[in-house]
């Protein structure tokens, strides 16, 4: 089985309408997106989070961005002159705003709530933006606001590249600062003798209104400056990417020190998923085995540590974490071997379902009353001891982050060596074409089994750290969703790519944790991200070297 092998090019061609009709169409699409955003309840929920204190809420920004993007897209159509493009932007925005106004009117005048629960008075109130609910003024201001925003988008779209880049960078800086207020505020908090600016920059939930224009200007200026500098110096791309990697490594190392416990906790979860991701990377990224039951090995590792390092009634031993860790890894590897033997004759999508079934079997068994006396059933195993190092108990999120990171580094090193050893090439050959690999003298069963076992061992290590970190394990933590998360991390980061695992874990685990406001909509945006990713950049955010070679030219003409 191979990935990203283009067998023929497929191109969707769309009939292009007259520019004005096209603008109306874009406006309608944006309007539909706005209405959907409101009707799934996201608007009302995110209206509580202020990105710019007392001025702009998260939902207003999200809606504004949609309309802005619509205006930008119409202007970038490039078929008409600046004045016409601006007009088209205004039209698109007005149409989008009108859709929302229609929704407000419908919400108030017709009772939609028997079917659509989010069409509540609260929504109408929020969308009236302070005006009397669903008054003429409230309804009229939406299309006007939309037209203004989309006009702004169109204007930005018409700027020369440098100006466009500066504007979007400035906007991006404001958004990132406002959205990730907690990270930046905690960083400023940690700067000694320099606690003043936090008060000025950030309020209790977002940016202060005064700080937003300053940040915008700073971002725009930085963009312009950088553009000029790079043009003059002509820094080669590889140098820039090396600098980027160095910065990334430095950032990863000092992150929990310059921020607070929460960011450290999130970083630790990211490191944990990286561990699992690298395990699955061996199975899926290198050997091409789709595994949806990966969480089972994670559970084996976690329960081993739980049983060996707890003072609870179910514990079989109460030994040091460092003794239990290798046992957990070995047991997980054994489980991998045991599962792998029968399952690995199954191919492709069938393998995905077989492993899904195995993972669910393990979860149900662990949860069951039948094994309850040994594994604690739904009550889990509690009071697991934290690991200690040189007499220092590793208890805080930051110290556990370094534990997970150190293990991840070891695992990354091992994977990297494996990838470039003979067995790594055998895996790649098998992934591309199993029959050819067999003809070349590669024993498919043995090499698959090895991949499966090593992957399971890595997941077992992750499970061991997980148990030590939480201090208790419950079957609830080993849902199918975990396996799918890990799979998605690989796909988003880039199959077979080690740095891709890091990037994928940051994007899929780190960002949603930091943006907890998304709360109940987390998995919705998660789904949208998966689909969008496949469409925009199927090879992953940081593709493996060989994938990059294969795919890039294809993408250029696809």
């Amino acid at each position: 089985m191979s990935f990203n092998t283009v067998t023929s090019s497929f191109k969707v061609t769309r009939r292009r309408r007259a520019p004005l009709a096209e603008a109306a169409r874009v406006g309608l699409i944006a309007g539909a997106a706005l209405v959907a955003f409101a009707l799934i309840g996201a608007y009302a929920a995110m209206d509580k989070r202020h990105v710019v204190e007392d001025l702009l809420t998260l939902s207003q920004i999200a809606c504004g961005l949609m309309v802005f993007a619509a205006g930008y897209a119409t202007a970038r159509d490039g078929r008409s002159g600046p004045a016409a493009a601006l007009l088209h932007g205004l039209v698109a925005g007005a149409v989008a705003g009108a859709c929302l106004a229609l929704l407000v009117w419908l919400t108030v005048s017709v009772n939609l709530r028997a079917t659509l629960v989010a069409a509540s008075p609260a929504l109408a109130r929020a969308l009236s933006l302070g005006a009397p609910v669903a008054s003429t003024q409230a309804l009229a201001q939406l299309p006007v606001l939309g037209a203004l925003l989309a006009g702004l988008g169109a204007a930005v779209g018409l700027l020369p590249p440098a100006g466009r880049h500066a504007m979007t960078t400035g906007l991006g800086v404001v958004l990132v600062a406002g959205l990730f207020r907690d990270v930046f505020a905690s960083m400023l908090d940690n700067l000694p003798d320099f606690t003043g600016p936090e008060i000025e920059l950030f309020g209790p939930s977002g940016l202060n209104p005064g700080a937003a224009p300053v940040l915008f200007a700073a971002g725009a200026a930085f963009s312009l400056l950088r553009r000029r500098l790079t043009r003059r110096a002509g820094v080669p791309r590889s140098g820039a990417s090396r600098l980027g990697s160095a910065l990334l490594v430095a950032g990863v190392l000092v992150l929990p020190l310059v921020t607070n416990d929460f960011v450290a906790q999130v970083a630790m979860l990211v490191a944990l998923y990286m561990l699992m991701g690298m395990g699955l990377n061996i199975e899926l990224g290198l050997a091409g085995l789709v595994d949806l039951g990966f969480v089972a090995f994670f559970a084996v590792g976690a329960y081993t540590v739980a049983l060996m390092c707890s003072s609870g009634p179910l514990a079989v031993a109460d030994v040091s974490f460092w003794l239990a860790l290798p046992v957990a890894i070995v047991l997980a590897a054994c489980a991998g071997l045991l599962f792998g033997l029968p399952v690995l004759r199954v191919r492709g999508d069938y393998l995905a379902m077989a492993t899904l079934g195995l993972g669910e079997i393990i979860r149900v068994l662990v949860l069951s009353d039948a094994l309850g006396p040994y594994l604690g059933g739904s009550q889990g195993i509690i009071e697991i001891r934290h690991p200690s190092l040189f007499g220092l108990e590793l208890k805080s999120p930051a110290s556990l982050y370094y534990l997970a990171l150190a293990l991840a580094a070891v695992v990354a090193f091992v994977s990297w060596r494996l990838q470039h050893a003979k067995i790594g090439r055998a895996w790649l050959a098998m992934r591309e074409d199993e029959d050819v690999a067999q003809a070349l003298g590669i024993d498919p069963v043995a090499s698959k089994l090895l991949a499966y076992t090593i992957g399971a061992a890595f997941a077992g290590a992750a499970g061991a750290v997980f148990a030590a970190l939480i201090g208790s394990v419950y079957p609830h933590s080993f849902q199918l969703l975990v396996s799918i998360n890990v799979l998605a991390i690989l796909v988003i980061g880039g199959l077979g790519s080690l740095p891709g695992v890091l990037v994928g874990a940051i994007v899929l685990i780190g960002l949603p944790e930091l943006l907890r406001e998304f709360g109940e909509f987390r998995y919705l945006f998660y789904g949208i991200a998966l689909v969008a990713m496949m469409h925009v950049r199927a090879e992953g955010l940081w593709p493996a070297a060989h994938a990059r070679e294969n795919v890039q030219p294809e993408n250029a003409h696809a």
């Binding site: 209790p204 020190l257 416990d261 987390r522």
Partner: protein, 411 residues
């Protein structure tokens, strides 16, 4: 690289070794755990964590919504400062509770935290919050160990308005054995820690009274066909089935019970997780005569319908889980305590001492809540903990009104 890692690790150790909590004097207040200053016009921040995503979402979202309704009823402000609830997602898992609690603990302006929904999250989350001097008032975490007299120090800042499992199990066993005179019982749980713990406690109490547990079964929340497991129970001929499972499982169970021969005369008692209008819709006509264990007091009967009305007006649907009322009470308890200990200076700044707030919370006595009169004991159990058996009288979904449907039949 390795050196860098080592030095970073040691730096981390030094940084993290410094205790965050120390006695402090700010404005008019001195407190051994520190003082929070809320500048004039700034909001009073209360944290909240519950299950906002994953399988237990209904319950978690309703709990924090119940708290929002309470804040509104309180006037939206305390001592002249608007109240803001910062809700986080704890996912009903230990790691979710840990992450949410860590985030809330990192916000030094937060006075107290409401939640979580699940005992697994409370077990990890409450000590993290208390280390930062933040007391937590749990909404749905019912595990007895959390308020046991010998609980670890980390739980000293933990309280709950939901009564612990032991109390409701004891009440149910008493009712079944003494009042109804039933001598044999079967139990069903759904693999969640809450239902399993409750069922085990009931089994113990029922057996201690001299009753016999003839079957103790389990299902999965995703099961839709419960007839096989009911058939198995029917072979043991219990007089009673006690099952605190949630709304959709209760719906399947009650609808399918009569399709299984031999269970026609068996009584079913449910838990308070289904004390909601939605269970009427889920069960349909078979709801008439279905009994559940729920909060008891007259206060509850009087105030709950208004609460449901306010809730539905705000969120478009009535509460789905039975725990939203506890969310209301947790918020009420917290706001009342803040009001009692907060001190305002001449400029209008508000100061709240952390230890003082905790002491005030623990000293709560005779507070009229939604589920009853709240009084905290020394271990942090604040729930009214007086129970009643409620019986549903009509299958009209709009008729949900505690007192009429369901009607209190005992005591």
């Amino acid at each position: 690289m390795k050196k860098l890692l080592l030095s970073a690790a040691s730096l981390a150790a030094v940084l993290l070794a410094t205790a965050p909590i120390r006695a402090e004097t700010l404005g008019p207040v001195t407190d051994p755990l520190g003082v929070v200053k809320i500048a004039k016009g700034q909001p009073v921040l209360i944290g909240g964590y519950s299950s906002q995503s994953g399988g237990d979402t209904n319950q978690g979202i309703d709990e924090l919504r119940g708290a929002e309704v309470a804040i509104k009823d309180f006037g939206g402000a305390v001592l002249g400062h608007p109240v803001k609830l910062l809700g986080e997602d704890a996912q009903c898992t230990a790691e979710g509770g840990q992450t949410a609690a860590t985030k809330l603990a990192g916000n030094k302006q937060i006075l107290a935290v409401l939640g979580p929904s699940c005992s697994s999250g409370a077990r990890v989350g409450a000590p993290i919050l208390w280390r930062a001097g933040i007391p937590s008032v749990a909404i749905g975490a019912t595990a007895p160990a959390l308020t046991a007299p010998d609980r670890p120090d980390g739980f000293k800042g933990f309280q709950r308005v939901v009564p612990n499992d032991l109390k409701s199990a004891k009440f149910t066993a008493d009712y079944a054995y003494d009042v109804l005179g039933l001598k044999t019982a079967a139990t069903i749980h759904d693999g969640s820690p809450y239902t399993e713990q409750l069922v085990r406690a009931f089994e113990k109490d029922f057996a201690a009274k001299g009753g016999t547990i003839v079957a103790s079964e389990a299902i999965s929340p995703s099961d839709t066909d419960l007839r096989p497991v009911l058939t198995r129970i029917a072979t043991k001929k219990p007089a009673l089935i006690f099952t605190p499972v949630f709304t959709s499982s209760v719906g399947f169970l009650m609808r399918q019970k009569d399709e299984v021969s031999g269970l026609a005369d068996t009584k079913v008692i449910g838990g308070e997780g289904v004390f909601s209008a939605n269970v009427i819709e889920a069960v349909g006509p078979k709801i008439v005569g279905f009994t559940i264990v729920g909060p008891s007091t007259d206060l509850f009967s009087k105030r709950f319908p208004d609460f449901v009305k306010a809730f539905a007006a705000e969120y478009g649907e009535a509460p789905i889980g039975g725990f939203s009322a506890y969310g209301y009470d947790a918020a009420l308890l917290t706001l009342t305590a803040i009001k009692a200990v907060g001190q305002t200076d001449a400029e209008g700044n508000l100061y709240v001492g952390r230890q003082a707030l905790h002491d005030a919370l623990m000293a709560t006595k005779g507070l009229d809540g939604l589920t009853g009169t709240l009084t905290c004991d020394a271990n942090g159990d604040c729930g009214a903990a007086t129970y009643a058996i409620w019986e549903f009288t009509s299958d009209d979904t709009s008729s949900f009104a505690p007192g009429k449907n369901p009607k209190r039949i005992y005591p």
